[in-house]
């Protein structure tokens, strides 16, 4: 039981840290792709297209083997790199959904591009971004199980440890599954609720 709780702690912690970091990174990349500077657009697009089309496990292995991090840190970095690509897509869609006139009006009142983006566009975009963001968080919790492959000490990893020690695999994995469901089912219900509310408000 202690093992499970420790695993649960690591899973929740790494998911939250990775969510926060990939939200920041994703916002930067989304703005890069929209900003009126061509090389930045290309850089952002290459990042998103490349990362989105390779398996997350490859990313996690890469951060684990190429750097000298512990499994947990490498896993969190890998998850952040991967999730940021998806979050940046969601944020970009949100920014593009804000009418162009808003940016023009903000610029004409004397705000610079960065200020207009930060103070006028992003706050409006966030409403549309929240449901897909919730979805990404759900995926993140599930993907954090990959930490088990790089000895990250998460729920899945602890489950493996216990099943290896006790030779009781079936029950252990059912137990691990229940722990994941406790985390993911409320999340998915919450996301569904937010999506419905957004659909109604439009």
């Amino acid at each position: 039981m202690e093992y499970f709780l420790e695993g649960l702690r690591v899973t929740v912690l790494t998911s939250l840290i990775a969510l926060l970091c990939s939200f920041i990174l994703g916002t930067i990349i989304a703005v890069m792709r929209i900003a009126p500077i061509k090389p930045l657009n290309w850089l952002g697009s290459i990042y998103v297209e490349f990362i989105r089309n390779i398996p997350v496990l490859v990313v996690v292995f890469f951060t684990y083997l190429a750097g000298s991090f512990s499994g947990m840190v490498a896993g969190t970095i890998g998850l952040t790199i991967y999730t940021a690509a998806f979050i940046s897509e969601a944020i970009r869609a949100g920014i593009l959904s804000v009418p162009k006139g808003q940016m023009e009006a903000a610029r004409s009142t004397g705000l610079c591009y960065g200020q207009a983006m930060r103070l006028i566009i992003l706050p409006q975009a966030i409403k549309i971004v929240i449901p897909p963001l919730g979805n990404q968080f759900l995926n993140l919790v599930k993907n954090s199980s990959l930490l088990a492959v790089v000895a990250g000490g998460d729920l899945m990893y602890q489950g493996d440890l216990i099943s290896a020690m006790t030779y009781v695999t079936f029950d252990t994995y059912i137990f691990v599954a229940l722990f994941y469901l406790v985390l993911t089912i409320p999340l998915s219900i919450g996301v569904g609720y937010l999506e419905k509310r957004l659909a109604r408000s439009n």
Binding site: E49, F50, R52, N53, I54, P55, V56, L57, V58, F61, F62, L65, A66, L138, K142, N143, S144, S145, L146, A148, V149, M156, G159, D160, S163, V168, T169, F170, T172, Y173, I174, V176, A177, Y180, L181, T184, I185, S188
Partner: protein, 220 residues
């Protein structure tokens, strides 16, 4: 140019051939899984759409549970836990079974929402013109819904192709697994191998994502 030496050592004809062999396994497993999960997912999605009491609720519950579990857990479960209750599978079979279970749940969701996206008025009109329920489903709802489902189905195939590499944990000899064998020889091989492996995944998935995008534009 010392740091380029590992790249030159890794990118030999033999290694590339070995990696491509792994990629072939990846593609085969992914292709079999997608066909199976399309059939099973299609069936489940349609059953959930038709709203048969009990059956629909039961299927919805199962789909929700599977969708909310990590695929890695399902793979571990299939390969390590099922033998405990007497179901033993070879690695490839276990990988295909686990992927099929997971992807069927995902695909059933796509099928169901595709069917639901057809306006009620169409069904009422079809019924009013004398078609029975099955005919309405077959001639009116399905042809329209299928067209709407194609882009998300292609995206789902992309994520299946990416997810196949999770089967390295049960030693399926796929692309990532063969990559691991190569870089196990020497520490400096890690980066070149991982770059090559990522590129291989990227090329195929990128082409598929372009196809998905083209289809989406065509529809709207």
């Amino acid at each position: 140019m010392d740091f380029l030496q590992p790249f030159a050592d890794v990118y030999t004809l033999d290694h590339i051939k070995f990696l491509l062999e792994g990629f072939w396994v990846t593609l085969k497993v992914a292709a079999i899984s997608i066909v199976l999960s399309f059939i099973i997912g299609g069936l489940i999605g349609t059953l959930r759409y038709t709203k048969i009491p009990v059956v629909t609720q039961l299927l919805t519950a199962i789909v929700e549970i599977i969708r909310n579990l990590p695929l890695l857990l399902i793979i571990f479960f299939t390969y390590f836990a099922l033998p405990e209750i007497g179901i033993e599978m070879k690695i490839t079979t276990a990988a295909i079974a686990a992927l099929t279970v997971f992807e069927s749940a995902m695909i059933s969701e796509i099928i169901r929402s595709g069917l639901n996206s057809i306006e009620k008025g169409q069904i009422e009109a079809a019924r009013a013109s004398g078609l029975n329920y099955t005919q309405t489903l077959r001639y009116i709802v399905l042809p329209q819904a299928l067209r709407r489902m194609v882009p998300p189905l292609v995206s789902q195939f992309i994520s299946l192709l990416k997810d196949t590499c999770l089967a390295v944990v049960i030693a399926l000899p796929d692309l990532l697994h063969n990559g691991q064998i190569i870089y196990a020889q020497k520490e400096s091989y890690v980066i070149p191998v991982m770059v090559m492996v990522s590129l291989m995944y990227f090329i195929v998935n990128y082409i598929l994502s372009l196809v998905a995008r083209r289809l989406e534009i065509k529809q709207s």
